[in-house]
Symmetry: C2
Subunit: 352 residues, 2 copies
C-alpha cells in the first residue's frame, strides 16, 4: 500500500510502498480517509523534532487522521465506523501509569511514543492498525473534517488546563488573545468566539485569507508589527486568557503583561533555545500581585479527543470550507506540505 | 490608647497615643492580644510598599492579629470571642465585585485597601474595630497563636491555587521545594510535611534555629550557595510543587527547572525591578513539553482564613514554641521588628 514518510537524513517527505498491516486481536484495521498536516510535521520533516521507531530509518508521517473501520477484529467497533486515532502510545517497554490513567498527554516524552512524530509510524498510509482504546468514534457527518479532531483536542486540553488553574475562584473570562494566525491559532479562535471577545495576533499583510477568516469568525486582528503582545492592553484591553501558539520564545514572559488580574496564559508553542534579557523582577511581581498564571500544555488525552468531536460538531459548515485550503491527493501529496499554504491542509487517501 | 505606627518619611516604627475607636452598629470592638510582624511590615517601614490612608501622615502597622471581642454591637459575635481579622477591605469608593464574592484576595491593588499595609490602619493598637464579616472566629485554645492565622491563610490560598491548576488531571504531589527559610517558608514547610517529602532552600550557616526547625519538622535543608534551585533535581530530585517565598527575581523562571513533569510553582515573593538574561526558549518549551505551570498568589480570602484556623489546630504544640522566637511587650516592641530575629516575632498587647 502507499505511505508517505520521511527517511532519516532526507529533506522532504516521499511516497513509499509498504506492507498493509494485519490487525492483531484487540486491534482495529482502519482505512485512511484524510490526514492533516501541521507545524509538527514540518519540524519532523526538517529533522528538528522526533524520528523513526528504534532501529528503523524511515518514519511514516501523519498524526491528524480520520478513517473507517474495515476490520474490528474482537473489538466493539463495527465495520464502517468512522474513527480518529489518538497520537500518544505506550513506549517500547510497555504501558505505564499515564496510560493506565488514560492521561497519556501528561507523560514526559520518555514515557511515550507519538505516532507519526516520534518513535512510531503515523497514519499517512492507505491503512493503519490501532488498539481499539486509542480510536475515538466520529459521527459520519464529520468524516470529511475528522482529521481536525486531533488539533482541536490539543486546544481542548490547553483550555481545560487554563480553566482548571482558575477554578479556585470566580473566573468568567470575557476576553482572549490568541497568539498566532496559523492553523492551531485559527481553530482556537473558532472555539473561543462563541464565549468571549477574541483578539488574534499575527504578522500578515491584508488581503490575507487567515485574517479574513478570523474576522469572519468575529475576532479582531492585531498586527504584531504595530502592536506587540505587551502593547495589547493599551491598544485594546487586558485579556483574561492568552493562548500562545507561535512558539516565539519571548511570548512566555511577554504574555503575562497582556493579562488582566486573575488571568492565565496557556502556552503550546515549542521554541528552541533562545537567550534574551528581560525584567524578571517585574514579571515575577506581576504574576504575584495580580494572581496571574501560566500553564504549559502539550498533546491531548482521550477525553480531549471526545470534547473535540463535540466541538467540531458545533462549528458552522462554512468554517471548514474556509479553513481547509488544500486537500491534496496521495499522488500530489506535496501540495499539503507546502509551508506557504496559508491555512489547513490534508492528504486524502480515500473517501467515505 | 497605645498604637505602633510609622510616620511618612520616618525610618522606624514608633509608639503613639491614639483615640480608642468606637464601633458603629455592625462593627465589632476588639481588644488586641498579639500582632505578628513579617517581611511586608519591614517593607512598609522602609517606605518600599504601601502607605497611610488618604490624607493622613501616619499608618498604624500590623496585619497579623488576634484579639478578643469586647463589644459585638449588633453582630452575631459575643463578648469574649477570639477573632483574627482579615486584611483586605473595600477601597474608599466602597465595596466592589471582589468583596461581593468574598474574594478580596483576587482584587487588583486599586480595588482594595490593606489594613496595616496600604491605605488603612492596621491592628497594632490596644483596640481595633472591624465589620463582623471581616473577623474570623478562632478557638480559645489557639488564642496565643492566632496571629499566625493571617500568614497561614496566605499559604492556604497559594496551595489552593497550585492544586486547582493541576485539578484537570491526576496529581498526587509527593515532593515539594520551599524557597526561603523565613517565617512564611517555615510555616509552609509545617503545612506540607504531613503530606509529602519537603526540601527547604535557604542560605543559612548552621547552627541556625530555622534550619533546626525545618529539620525537626522532617524537611531537608538545601543550602542555595551550594545547590541553587536549578541544581535541585540532580542533587536531590525533581519536585511536584515549588513554593517561592523569597522574592528573588530569578526564581520565577529558575523554579520551573526544579519541577517534575506536571509540576507547579506557586510564587508569593515580591521582587522589585531586576533585569537579567536567561534562556527563555528553554523556559517556554519546558513549560509546554512537561505540562508545567506557574501561579502567582497574593493575600488570602475568608475561606483561606478559615482553612488556616483548622491548619494551625493540627500543628503540634512544640512547633509554635520553636517557631515564635520573640513576643515583645508593647513598651519593648522594637524587639519584634529586629530584622535579624531568625523566625517569627509578635507584639503582645494583652493576654486572654
Amino acid at each position: 500500500m502507499r505511505a508517505i514518510g520521511i527517511e532519516s537524513g532526507d529533506d522532504r517527505p516521499r511516497l513509499f510502498d509498504v506492507a498493509r498491516p494485519d490487525p492483531a486481536p484487540g486491534e482495529v484495521l482502519v482505512r485512511t480517509l484524510r490526514v492533516g498536516v501541521d507545524g509538527t510535521d514540518h519540524e519532523v520533516v526538517a529533522g528538528a523534532h522526533g524520528g523513526p521507531p528504534d532501529g528503523e530509518e524511515r518514519l511514516v508521517l501523519g498524526h491528524e487522521a480520520v478513517g473507517v473501520v474495515v476490520d474490528p477484529t474482537t473489538t466493539a467497533f463495527e465495520r464502517g465506523d468512522v474513527v480518529a486515532p489518538t497520537v500518544r502510545r505506550p513506549p517500547p517497554d510497555g504501558p505505564n501509569e499515564y496510560f493506565d490513567r488514560a492521561e497519556p498527554d501528561m507523560a514526559p516524552p520518555s514515557a511515550c511514543v507519538e505516532r507519526g512524530i516520534d518513535g512510531a509510524h503515523g497514519f499517512m498510509s492507505e491503512y493503519f492498525t490501532s488498539p481499539a482504546q486509542f480510536l475515538i468514534p466520529v459521527p459520519d457527518e464529520l468524516a470529511e473534517w475528522g482529521f481536525l479532531v486531533e488539533p482541536t483536542s490539543v486546544s481542548e486540553k490547553a483550555l481545560e488546563l487554563a480553566r482548571a488553574s482558575r477554578s479556585s475562584f470566580t473566573w468568567d473570562p470575557e476576553t482572549a488573545l490568541v497568539l498566532g494566525t496559523g492553523p492551531l491559532g485559527l481553530i482556537t479562535v473558532a472555539m473561543l468566539v462563541p464565549e468571549m471577545t477574541v483578539y488574534c495576533l499575527g504578522r500578515r499583510d491584508r488581503p490575507d485569507p487567515s485574517v479574513d477568516l478570523l474576522e469572519a469568525l468575529g475576532a479582531t486582528y492585531v498586527d504584531s508589527r504595530e502592536t506587540p503582545v505587551t502593547a495589547v492592553p493599551d491598544a485594546y484591553e487586558s485579556v483574561d486568557l492568552v493562548y500562545e501558539a507561535t512558539g516565539h520564545a519571548r511570548h512566555a514572559v511577554d504574555c503575562v503583561e497582556a493579562l488582566a488580574p486573575g488571568g492565565v496564559a496557556a502556552l503550546l508553542g515549542l521554541p528552541g533555545a533562545s537567550a534574551f534579557t528581560f525584567d524578571g523582577g517585574h514579571f515575577h511581581a506581576d504574576l504575584v500581585m495580580h494572581n496571574k498564571a501560566i500553564v504549559g500544555s502539550v498533546n491531548a488525552g482521550p477525553s480531549h479527543f471526545h470534547a473535540a468531536v463535540d466541538r467540531l460538531a458545533s462549528f458552522p459548515p462554512w468554517f471548514f470550507e474556509d479553513y481547509v485550503t488544500e486537500i491534496a491527493p496521495v499522488e500530489g501529496f506535496e501540495a499539503a506540505f507546502d509551508p506557504d499554504t496559508p491555512m489547513k491542509t490534508a492528504v486524502e487517501f480515500d473517501t467515505l
